[in-house]
Amino acid sequence: MDGMRGNKIVKVLKDEILTSISPRIGEIIMSAPIEYINKLEEIRIRLGKPLMINCGRSDYMLSPKGRIPGSIKDAYIVSKDDCERTIQLLSNYSVYSLEEELKCGYITLQGGHRVGIAGKGIIEGGKIKALKNISGFNIRIARQVIGAADSVMKYIMKKDDIYNTIIISPPQCGKTTLLRDMIRQISSGNEKAGIKGLKVSLVDERSEVAGCYLGIPQNDVGIRTDILDACPKSAGLIMMIRSMSPQVLATDEIGSIDDIKAIYEAMNAGIRMVTTIHGDGIDDVLKRPYIDDVIKNRIFERIIILSSKHGPGTIEDVIDGRDLKSIID
């Protein structure tokens, strides 16, 4: 099983990621031990610093031969040439074509992988006009887990309908992966289980859920899903409520007052919500302004708490939002 996953991730690396970064760094990554490649989540390229990879919760430096070095002096140091080649290849030799993306600080590659970019911001009128002197890249490998939501679907489904659901999770615990699979299952339905698919509108502000590349979602988010990619949440939610007649509205990481206003508008229109928020648990979330209202007003009927106790994606609890009682088996 691991061997199969290993081959898949090597193929993904080769076809979708390594073609867009400095060839020298690509060589080093491909020479790294396969146990690390299998768990690869991020590649971090920082000018003048050691090349590093993130696997699970640990990060590792790499030596020029792709080994894990004993100390920093054996690590491969990222050169200016590496950064220049990477930006040229990422942009397909056309830095001008990434102007909009650079303003947001990230680029989405084919396959849904996100490349965050660090550099010097050129500010005009208080907004970022351009990014110069690129000094670093953070490549996040997109990994869809089909079936990540299998164990929670029964808690959120009603007859031809779903409960308003919010996922509360600390960082790196798989909330986006869970959200993505929930949306997929809600949207595509399940013929065998007699679950009818619902119309879903997804506002994917950071292109993380659907991972759209040239307008095409690189992840499976369901056959009845409409996606607003790279669009600010609050405006996007309102737009979709008014134009896409969704049955379910989905977005990642709500928090601002505008996001909450949009949620209330969705409620008024009889639309169901599926969303996520950063936090360790209900108590943590209740300390935050605006969100605490949403919990107290029992807007969300299902609250899913995640942790990484048994690895990312651990379902800590499923709570009925109306009486705040746990309903997990």
């Binding site: 220049e84 397909n92 030799y93 056309s94 830095v95 001008y96 102007e99 351009a130």
Partner: protein
């Protein structure tokens, strides 16, 4: 009889040589004109459609004539192969490959190579400025090439014919 055929041959080949040498001046003018039109199209792809360079070069190559279409197609191919650090390197290599098939002068080449270095490595506004500069430089070169054509084309063609005639007469 053989002498007559021999003479005809000498005159024809000498004239032919003169024609070819003289014709290059006209070819240079045409090629510069074609380059200007092609780069104008490339500019539109970049400034208005934000098309990435590999696609832009390929798309324009389909709309223009020889030999610039071959130059652009080659550049697009090199870019797609991702062998070069910058677009400028890929373009320079294509120019080098096609040197024998182009009739432009050394100084025209230099202008193109210098422009190549600015391709794709800056934002839209800067690209626009670079294109403007390129087109005005090529305009000046076209003028120079036209003058050279006026001076030399007829001269070479006549010289070819006359020297052929002279050699033929010497032989006879």
């Amino acid at each position: 009889m053989i002498k007559l055929i021999g003479c005809l041959f000498i005159i024809l080949s000498s004239s032919g040589l003169g024609y070819i040498l003289g014709g290059r001046f006209g070819k240079r003018v045409r090629e510069i004109k074609l380059l200007m039109a092609s780069f104008q199209m490339l500019e539109n792809e970049i400034i208005y459609s934000s098309t990435p360079l590999p696609e832009a070069f390929e798309s324009v190559s389909k709309k223009i004539g020889y030999p610039v279409n071959a130059l652009f197609k080659r550049t697009g191919d090199y870019l797609n192969q991702r062998l070069y650090t910058t677009a400028g390197d890929a373009f320079k290599k294509s120019l080098g490959d096609m040197e024998d098939m182009l009739s432009i002068a050394r100084e025209d080449m230099e202008i193109l190579v210098n422009f190549g270095h600015t391709l794709g490595s800056s934002d839209t506004k800067s690209q626009e400025k670079n294109f403007k500069m390129l087109l005005s430089q090529l305009d000046i070169q076209e003028g120079k090439a036209h003058d050279a054509q006026n001076k030399n084309e007829k001269m070479y063609k006549n010289l070819g014919f006359l020297s052929g005639l002279a050699i033929a007469i010497i032989f006879i």
